[in-house]
């Protein structure tokens, strides 16, 4: 088959998408977009509601007992501040991501290079998160010791908390390591393979 014949075949009506087919794709995409949006909002509302409710409950208890500002309050304050800091960082990153649009005026080769750089940054960030999680262990142990020393928690309660936080941190670090790092490494491999074609 000559190249002219290939071009004629390419321009044939068979190679044009049917209107109905495109409409189906559009509907499918609209459903997917809606699902993504609902999923994000539901997750966000759940996390914020849980955090707010917990904060209000602890605040009310502190005010009622008059222990706010005392030495015994700071370990709990520290533990409460952690999820709030994570939530604020998450929202900031999401808003920054929405505001930042990729520059589609650039060539694909340049865009691939930028995607590779972004992947390296994400990889470094994930490794940083893993280090931070490891760094959380000593202050957490100190908090538990403080709770015991001030008489706010008994020995068996401290062990329960240590077990709960230990398992949570291990699961969280494991999930970050397994999912994020493997996904990012797979993405890096994919980009590298395409970039080799440009050399």
């Amino acid at each position: 088959m000559s190249y002219d014949e290939i071009e004629n075949l390419w321009r044939s009506p068979q190679n044009q998408p049917a209107e109905r087919q495109m409409e189906e794709e559009r509907q499918r995409f609209a459903a997917r977009l809606r699902r993504r949006h609902i999923g994000f909002v539901a997750y966000f509302v759940f996390v914020l509601t849980a955090l707010t409710a917990l904060t209000i409950w602890i605040g009310i208890r502190w005010l009622a007992k008059g222990t706010l500002g005392s030495a015994s309050a700071w370990p709990a304050l520290f533990l409460l501040a952690l999820p709030w800091a994570a939530a604020i960082l998450f929202v900031r990153r999401y808003l920054q991501h929405r505001r930042r649009h990729p520059d589609y005026e650039r060539s694909i080769a340049t865009a691939l290079q930028a995607a590779r750089d972004e992947n390296r940054t994400a990889l470094a960030r994930t490794t940083g998160i893993l280090r931070l999680q490891a760094m959380c262990v000593p202050p957490l142990a100190l908090c538990l010791w403080q709770l015991h020393a001030t008489g706010l928690a008994r020995k068996h309660e401290i062990w329960s908390m240590a077990l709960f936080f230990g398992v949570s941190l291990t699961l969280s670090a494991g999930w970050t390591g397994l999912v994020c790092l493997t996904q990012l490494k797979k993405e890096a491999k994919r980009i590298d393979e395409v970039m080799k074609c440009y050399e």
Binding site: L9, S12, Q14, N15, Q16, P17, D103, E105, A109, V194
Partner: protein
């Protein structure tokens, strides 16, 4: 840009330039994977709309977005495909009028299979050439020199013609 404006652009571009996405999805993925890729291309187009500068050529912009997304697309997303199949089972069956009389779907499928067998950059270049892009536009989209693009395409056109001549060309 408001969400309503984004939606208007999206619908208009899909109506006017849907063929670009159709060609890219079939050129980069076969069978059910093409449907997955089509959805990824639509998502890439949706996300790219706010970055479009007024006065720029929509088709060139879309080629850049679609080829960029297709080149780095990840195959085999099983969970997503399961949802897609569930959605399809709810849709009415295709009508006979969707088929074009006198067309040659088998030869066209062989052509797409031959394109998919090429390395990623060559695949992208031949798809752009078949859609009628000039060497200059292709070079600009990919960040290559015009002479390099021309040399690659001459070799590619020859290769594609030879592959299509073979009667038992294996489909992927």
């Amino acid at each position: 840009m408001t969400r309503q404006e984004q939606q208007t652009h999206f619908d208009q571009w899909l109506r006017e330039h849907g063929a670009i996405l159709h060609h890219v999805s079939r050129g980069f993925a076969g069978g059910d994977d093409a449907k997955d890729l089509m959805q990824e291309l639509l998502l890439a187009m949706w996300k790219a709309i706010p970055a479009f500068r007024q006065g720029a050529k929509v088709s060139t912009f879309l080629y850049r977005v679609a080829h960029n997304a297709a080149l780095t697309w990840e195959r085999s997303r099983r969970n997503y495909r399961r949802r897609l199949e569930k959605y399809e089972s709810m849709m009415p069956p295709p009508e006979a009028t969707d088929r074009v009389e006198g067309a040659d779907p088998e030869r066209l499928e062989r052509l797409y299979a031959a394109i998919r067998a090429l390395p990623p950059l060559d695949r992208s270049l031949i798809l752009l050439a078949l859609d009628g892009m000039s060497y200059r536009e292709m070079a600009e989209i990919h960040g290559l020199s015009e002479s390099n693009t021309g040399a690659r395409l001459s070799r590619l056109k020859q290769k594609l013609s030879t592959t299509m001549k073979e009667p038992n060309h294996e489909l992927r």
